[in-house]
Amino acid sequence: MSPIELFGTGFMQRALLAALFTGLAAPAVGTYLVQRRLALMGDGIGHVAVTGVAIGLLTGASPTWTAVVVAILGAVLIEEIRARGRTNGDVALALLFYGGLAGGVMVTGIAGQSAARLQQFLFGSLLTIGIADVLVTMVLAAVVVVLCVGLSPQLFSVSQDQDFSRVAGLNVRLYNILVAVLAAVSVTVAMRTVGLLLVSALMVVPVATSQQVARTFRATLAGAMALGVVACVGGLVISAFASYQATVAPGSTIVLLALALFALAWPVGVVLRRRQRVRAPFSDEPPDEHQPAEHDHRHGDGCGHLAVPHGDHVDYVHDGHRHAPHGAHYDEH
């Protein structure tokens, strides 16, 4: 089959649509999880959803829907434990991680299903996705994106500063649960694309990549969603071409492509952050007054040293410290 024929097939087009919507939705929720420093929450929910899939396999119900229900229950439970326990939220997360995974494996066995069937959900099976599943994926992903973008002022504030948001009259508890539910929904959306065990990568890695270069929250959110689409669609296309040579699963290709994008953005971020640090204002202690620096040239435009405005004068960055003009010489700052 030629590549043109391959991309003309129904299963490939369904896979492309599912990849596109997953790539938009997962990083949108992921941005708020990273902002709350709960980057691994998606992973926890993914493990819990394994039990949901197994219940679907056992009862003959659609594994997608049982996974949605169980993932939402698990996410709300994680959120409640986090909100009440305060100190050991990560332990609660761990308990659910392993409980969910072990429960899923056991229930799958009871259902008489093979490990291979469960594996479709653990590592994704983008190319076997049916029309009904594509529609469900698209609708759920659209709901996630609309809420994440439409409620971004509220979700940003609640994720940034709960006390302030509560005094501003926001129902913080409700928004926290909303984020948990949205995370659970996008986990099940991404289940078919990259699988439950790799789902968190799609929620976190594009955000981590985006924040290497972004300076604002809006840019981080938009960048993460764009990178999510590039990783998902790009990963699928790459795996399609690679499959002429070897067996290449789309799920792992998508995650590795997302990580490769991070690897490209990271050095850029290091340089940007370094430049920011050099320009950053001095912190609390006032500088020691008058430390003449050994110096043999005049700083000025084009002297090769970074100029940093500092109050009423301009400092020049020189070998990791700053020179401030003082009469005919420079003081160490």
Binding site: T31, V34, Q35, R36, R37, A39, G150, L151, P153, Q154, F156, S157, S159, Q160, D161, D163, F164, S165, R166, V167, A168, G169, L170, V207, Q211, A214, R215, T216, F217, R218, A219, T220, Q276, R279, A280, P281, F282, S283, D284, E285, P286
Partner: protein, 271 residues
């Protein structure tokens, strides 16, 4: 009808995890007043502000905000809160403007874009704290003191009438403390009511109308402004104190660490 006090708390008490933290607190803040809540660490001054905002529940007592019982109070746009925080950053980059824009939330409806008024209020708030030129910069690149001013601008952006600030000067360098004092002076000129928790006043001292000093969960002084050195003086609140400005002054003879476990009902006249 006289204007209702922005904050009125009668016989307030707070228990955290069963342990009494505040007891027998009577505090009325009048419109336009600048009140400092002072006291040592653990004296309950932050808890008192958090009880006023509703972040910590009262175990007894009556609290009204602008004349409305706190349980029914919904007009949170009238209250601007500056929580005690290490900084204005979170796990994801955000610009100064974005953090300050969150201060408009009490006045914004769901799924609506920013209005011209929202933008004007954000810009004005940044001008008051002297950070108008930093609106587009990431908050993480600002110093700790500047981040504290961003949090004040956020409270300011909602154009509230009552400001509650929890330790805004903690860990803030001298130049930033002065910038902060200028911003608060501007608010005071505009007629805002300000309640500020402070360990030390520094350049804020000349702005005060009134000091409230707390010790071991009680108000031990409520009267004319005190200097930093007076707040921690051991004689404060005792009979021979020389501040005769208010009759509200409480004279609780208080030996440190031997506080009675329950509020002293004996002193209160029940109607």
């Amino acid at each position: 009808m006289p204007v209702a006090d922005p904050v009125a708390l009668r016989d307030g008490a707070v228990a955290l995890g069963g342990r009494p933290v505040l007891r027998g607190i009577d505090l009325a803040v009048r419109q336009g007043e600048f009140v400092a809540l002072m006291g040592a660490n653990g004296s309950g001054k932050s808890t008192l502000v958090r009880a006023i905002t509703g972040l910590v529940p009262l175990s007894r007592g009556e609290l009204t905000l602008f004349g409305t019982p706190a349980a029914r109070f919904a007009d949170w746009a009238r209250v601007g809160f500056v929580p005690q925080r290490q900084g204005a950053t979170s796990g994801v980059p955000a610009s100064v403007g974005e953090v300050v824009t969150a201060g408009r939330l009490a006045r914004r409806r769901l799924f609506r874009p920013l209005t011209r008024e929202d933008r004007a209020a954000v810009r004005e708030a940044l001008e008051v704290v002297g950070l108008a030129d930093r609106e587009r910069e990431p908050v993480a690149t600002l110093s700790g003191g500047q981040q504290q001013r961003v949090l004040i601008a956020r409270a300011l952006a909602g154009r509230p009438e009552l400001f509650l600030l929890d330790e805004p000067t903690a860990g803030v360098d001298q130049p930033n403390q002065h910038a902060l004092a200028e911003a608060l002076a501007e608010l005071k000129r505009r007629g805002a009511t300000i309640v500020l928790v402070a360990h030390e006043l520094g350049p804020l001292a000349p702005l005060l109308d009134r000091s409230v000093v707390m010790r071991d969960g009680r108000v031990v002084y409520d009267g004319a402004p005190l200097g930093d050195h007076e707040v921690h003086a051991p004689w404060l609140g005792e009979a021979h104190t020389h501040h005769h400005h208010h009759d509200a002054e409480r004279r609780t003879d208080h030996v440190p660490h031997l506080a009675p476990p329950l509020p002293d009902h004996g002193r209160r006249s029940h109607p």
